[in-house]
Symmetry: C2
Subunit: 340 residues, 2 copies
Amino acid sequence: MRTEIASLGEFGLIDHLTKNNDTLQAGTILSIGDDAAVIDQFGRQSVISTDMLVEGIHFDLMYTPLKHLGYKAVAVNLSDICAMMATPTHITLSIALSNKISVEALEEFYEGVYAACEKYGVDLIGGDTTSTKSGFIISVTAIGEVAPDKYVTRSGARPTDLICVSGNLGAAYLGLQLLEREKKIFLENPGIQPDLQQQAYVIGRILKPEPRADITEWLQENEIVPTSMIDVSDGLSSELLHICGNSNVGCTIYEDKIPVHDETKSVADMFGVSVVTCALSGGEDYELLFTIRQEDYEKVVRNNSISVIGYVTGKDEGAVLQTKGGNKHALTAQGWNAFA
Amino acid sequence: MRTEIASLGEFGLIDHLTKNNDTLQAGTILSIGDDAAVIDQFGRQSVISTDMLVEGIHFDLMYTPLKHLGYKAVAVNLSDICAMMATPTHITLSIALSNKISVEALEEFYEGVYAACEKYGVDLIGGDTTSTKSGFIISVTAIGEVAPDKYVTRSGARPTDLICVSGNLGAAYLGLQLLEREKKIFLENPGIQPDLQQQAYVIGRILKPEPRADITEWLQENEIVPTSMIDVSDGLSSELLHICGNSNVGCTIYEDKIPVHDETKSVADMFGVSVVTCALSGGEDYELLFTIRQEDYEKVVRNNSISVIGYVTGKDEGAVLQTKGGNKHALTAQGWNAFA
């Protein structure tokens, strides 16, 4: 018998392979299934997350400057640590590359890695460098620290909690569409130079995402303890469904509350797509999606980088988007099936 | 200007890319350059190591059962943790794979991963699963713990220290040569079934290496604190040169003291190669190479799994192999240049 991996999808595959994963170490507080794992040894808690980026799947070297790629490889892992309300401290970096890549190109990649490490006060402490027959593969493991039991999972959302998201959504997806379009134009007419000045924001969002360590710090400073948290890597819908599934709740979000940048709206209009769809299903925004208790509402609205987009309901009510016109739609997980 | 990666080699490349790696975290005790990194937070010390295995470079799916591959991917990382005299506790596992691999094949791979985790009491706490256009890539990060400042690096060897190695060497390299030969025969004559019964030991050594956690435990129980330690992944010569370089010392080892299994000797004879060369340059044995103070000699010889193969000298004397005939040869690092 042969079952194709594509038939399970990424999340299904992970569930399938890890369903019998026993815990042997007393120090394992939180294992597979959240943004990061939490381990406790001698009372201290470490938060650990890992991500792999594959050329041709997660990035295209034709339009991804290597310095940005290095920066992004670190940033997306730090984002997972932030999504646990933890502070990133260390990373390891393993790369496999073909002889297509020169030492100079690799130096650029590392410049980006070091730039991200410096910006977020993180140390690169180890790694592995090896070869592939083709393609460039990057694997980063990020380690962070959190005060005992102060980490925030995906499973603590309770009905009446408010749903918040940092920054704005949908830009990274549209930035990627622009880069893909320019690549196609370039391949057909190599003489044409792309002019992407007008779309610098959305392109920056796909090429150089930033983990929202500023948001977790602000929440800590203001003594707001989110009841659940996740980073937006696969799109708002998919992440909301993760929180609802893990917390055993439903949710209602309002279309007109979803934060979108003006440039994102313009580019969506240019492509003739709904900017809300981009926000719901686009992914790669690396914003933080979290829930808070109602009593923290007054505090949260003081931060202009945080939008309250809806509230948590009972499980039976499902995950719902309420449109501007007052219609209700069930949220569906487009997610991101790398094997499709 | 374009510099080819092959011109630097693996170690040169890592040195080149990490020479400007600053440490920002006060908790970073030991960074890139040893078997693993050591980080200290609130008095506890964690040991962290990471390795990447690439299809076609590190393994050939034609003769590597997936269960063994999963086991080995974990084992080689635990070996790095053991080589710090630390106890492995957790791993993360990221894989990228093409649709060539079925869910059933992946289940076998995970069976091996879980078998290694169970044997060594380690928890799999996180990972990433994604796709590649071709090839199977595995990235494991291992985490261990060690009592404060009890980790052992490559840099503490002092003249007059004794050089010890666990188990025996050279078998894994010859096991690989056998598998490569059988593959060639099979490709030329698909009807011929290989009979490797007589070489089960050397083949087991390449397909299913074991980290020597038993040796580090025994050393701890017997209160022997090695002055330096490394695991033998690239061959005895290369590892000895790492210890000499990092410790700023020389060494003399005796050809007739290098431990070799009887079957390894037979297979070397069959291939018409020197078994000592296989031990010196073969690699993938995952034994522990370490130095002890002379006063621990009486204790160490009680363990049949440990051989004393030479002693540490001053830097000026270089790294030397003394043959059975009394000749002296400088040890050279064949190492393993994945980019050559």
